[in-house]
Structures are given as C-alpha cells and as structure tokens.
Symmetry: C2
Subunit: 242 residues, 2 copies
C-alpha cells in the first residue's frame, strides 16, 4: 500500500517527523501536497482536503496520513500507528505507551520552539511581535531548552537496555524525533546549541547514530528533504539565540 | 488495583482530565499529592517524585498515573490506557486512534487556553505580560476559539453513529475532555462562551449529557472537585474576554 502524506509543501514542520519514519522504514509514500498543482498538489489542495465534507473522522490540522481508508492526524498518533507496522516501536503495551509518551513530549517542545518566535499569534508577523519574542526567548533559552535536553539525557541514562536508544535496545520513532529536534535547534539556535551539545553527550551520540543510518543519510542527500527556512517551525533569528 | 495519581494539589489543570475518566469509570484511585504532607502529599512530594532517580521511564511533567509498576505520563497517553481498561474508548484500532487523535487536539487547545494569559512564559507574572496577553487574546478569542468549537461541532455532525458522542455510539474519554474544555472556558471566557454555545448546539448538548452522568454529578457535588481558580490553566481575566 502506498501511503499518502498531506502536509504543507514548503516546510519540514511537523510533517518531517512522519517523513523521517517513512524514510527510515523504506515505506512507499507520496507527499501529495508537494506534487505540482496539475498532479493534485499545492496549498489550495491542502485546504480543500482539510475541508472535505466527506471525512467521517475529519482532521483538525496537518500532517495527515492516509493509508487506504484510514485517515490519521496528530503527529504522535500517526507515528504510533506507523511504529507498530514498521517496527519502529516495541510491540509490548508498556513499550508502546512509553514511546508515545516521549513523542508527545517532543511534540510539546516543538510548540515551544515555534511559539518562541510567535508568542502572540501565528496570524501576526514576526516583526510585529519581535520584542515579545525576545522576552519569551529570555525564558526559553536559559530555562526550557536545558530542561528538555536534560530530560532526554536522563531518559537515555535511565534506559535499562543501555544509553544508545531512548526506548529499549533498538531504534524507535522517538529517536527519529529527537534527532529532528537537534537538527532544528542547530538551525534555529546555533549559538545556544554549541553549549547544549557539550552538556548532553548521549543526546549528541543519538543524533549522530540516526544521521548515519543508511536510509536517513540517503534521504538527506536525495534533495527530497526540504531545507530549514524562515517559514517553518524552527527559525533562525540571531536576536533570540541567547 | 488502586491507581495513584500525581498532580499539582490546588488546581484542576491537566490532572482533571484523568480524574474525570477515573470518576466516570468508578475506579479506585488516590490523588497522592493532595494528601496531607504527613501522608505523602504536598508540592515537595511532587517534586521529589518527579526527580526520583529510580524511574526507568521518568516522567517529564505531571500528571502521572501509577498503576502497579506502570508509570505513565502525558494526559492523552494516560487516557488511552485507561480508556482501554475501563471501556472509555473503542477496542478497534481505528477507533482507539481516533479517540486519541481527538484527545490530542483537546490537549493542544488547552495549551492555547493557558498561553493566552501567559504568552511570554509561565515563569513571569501575569501582570508582567498583561499587554501581551491582550494582544494574544485578540487572536485567540475571535479566531482560535471558534475554530476549535467549530471543529468539535463538525466531528459530532460527521459521526456516522449519531451526534451524541464524538466517537461511535457510546461515551469515550474524548467526550469527557470536551466537557471539561466547556467547563473551563465558561469560567475563563464567560462572555465569549455565551455566543459560542448558541452557535454550537451539539457541543452544548454533549456537555449537558456528560454533566448529567450520575458519577460525574456525584463527583461535582462531592467537594472533591477543586474549584476553578486563578492559579490554574483556565483563568478569568475580564480584559481578555473579547
């Protein structure tokens, strides 16, 4: 079965967490909204898809994964399902829940990484909330960033199966998610991350381990991975970088 | 088995979504941190529990549910597990995922309902971000609140089993969650909600249906339900209420 991914066509965003899982699994998928407009892609196609009155289980927002008749939204929810099908999470109930718990913590941090540059509303320009973004960064950078990475380092250290993976002794979608957070934070907060990385060697090793996986490397080199840019969730504004 | 819930002792917050599920299920649980300090409760007990180095799967933040050896965090993750054990969600994979997806959408809205009064940081006083809160409310109130309730109304209308429940033809923890959002929003945005409620009759009917459930009513009348207050996620600041 070919999966259909629906996500904004010009940013990594939340969709990238799904793409990384699909890529690492070697799954067959099409990034529908990135197709040319003549092939069903483009922003309007996304809006039409979301508003489609025929959805019995309408998605609130992208990313959406379509797998035959199944229509799934909410990134950790999609990942939980993919994780079971593609061996990217333990099969045990406790292991499945733990992986989901970590993915949700990563998703929460992603909201913070977005809201630091848009603390008042997505609907307002950055320039119109720049002063507020700086005040929010004055808490996010010294407090929230170390709290998040410190927690992930602790999870790796506490793993009874060793500190290479977040969950058990093999790769899960939680590892792919943490990899993506490091990638995004390096783009958005390069100054802060030089210190953070030194202080969190297990997280850093995990990032390197994921980056070296053959399919992830092939994906990064394929040209299919959208570069980070100033429209995405992670944005580089030097004035916010501590 | 007696469940142990760990959550801040003086607010409804995220913990209330777990409490409502436990109450509706008639489950045996203890709200550990609300016990007197001599009995293991209090804020310091919560901090000690979170920092406990013996956790193999450390929670990032409360609420945490302990069920024997299982330690679960992240509200929708806890609810997913409770939902399977206490018949508060469908057993089918597609139904379970759909309920989880709705609970995550509710959890995202909860973050917005908090951040509207603390757009810059939880660590700063409201008085120090009051002007910013007003600007955030100028988007949240006319745009985000109707978007959320409009979506939930659409989900009820699209349910092939009828519009009484969000999922299938019986109560799920998603319904309890939407009930709690209406409760919180009535407290925090009473002016806005008078209009919202008229425009979303199916949501309103769902709220009334949940409120009338015998165990939910008994809980509301028991004195165990912490009243909404100005320390919680939902706060009433008239200047933000459109």
């Amino acid at each position: 079965m070919r999966y259909e991914l629906y996500y904004w066509p010009t940013i990594q965003g939340r969709g990238e967490f799904i793409r990384l899982a699909l890529e690492d699994a070697g799954a067959d998928y099409v990034d529908v909204i990135r197709l040319p407009e003549s092939g069903g892609g483009g922003r309007q196609a996304m809006l039409d898809f979301l508003a489609d009155a025929s959805h019995e289980r309408p998605p609130f927002a992208p990313p959406v994964l379509k797998a035959g008749r199944l229509v799934l939204a909410q990134t950790p929810n999609i990942l939980m399902w993919l994780g079971q099908r593609h061996n990217l999470a333990p099969k045990s109930e406790a292991g499945m829940l733990w992986t989901n718990q970590l993915a949700m913590t990563i998703a929460d941090f992603l909201i913070e990484a977005h809201d630091v540059h848009h603390p008042l509303a997505k609907a307002f320009y950055y320039e119109d909330q720049k002063a507020e973004a700086k005040r929010r960064a004055s808490d996010f950078v010294p407090t929230r960033i170390p709290k998040f990475f410190g927690y992930m380092e602790r999870v790796l250290a506490a793993n009874p199966s060793g500190d290479r993976f977040l969950v058990g002794k093999r790769l899960s979608y939680a590892d792919l998610g943490l990899f993506q957070i490091v990638e995004g934070m390096r783009y958005a907060f390069p100054g802060t991350m030089t210190t953070i990385e030194v202080q969190h060697p297990k997280v850093l090793a995990l990032h390197a381990m994921v980056a070296a996986r053959p399919r992830i490397r092939a994906y990064a080199e394929s040209g299919r991975r959208i570069p980070f840019n100033q429209h995405g969730i992670f944005r580089h504004y030097p004035e916010l970088d501590g």
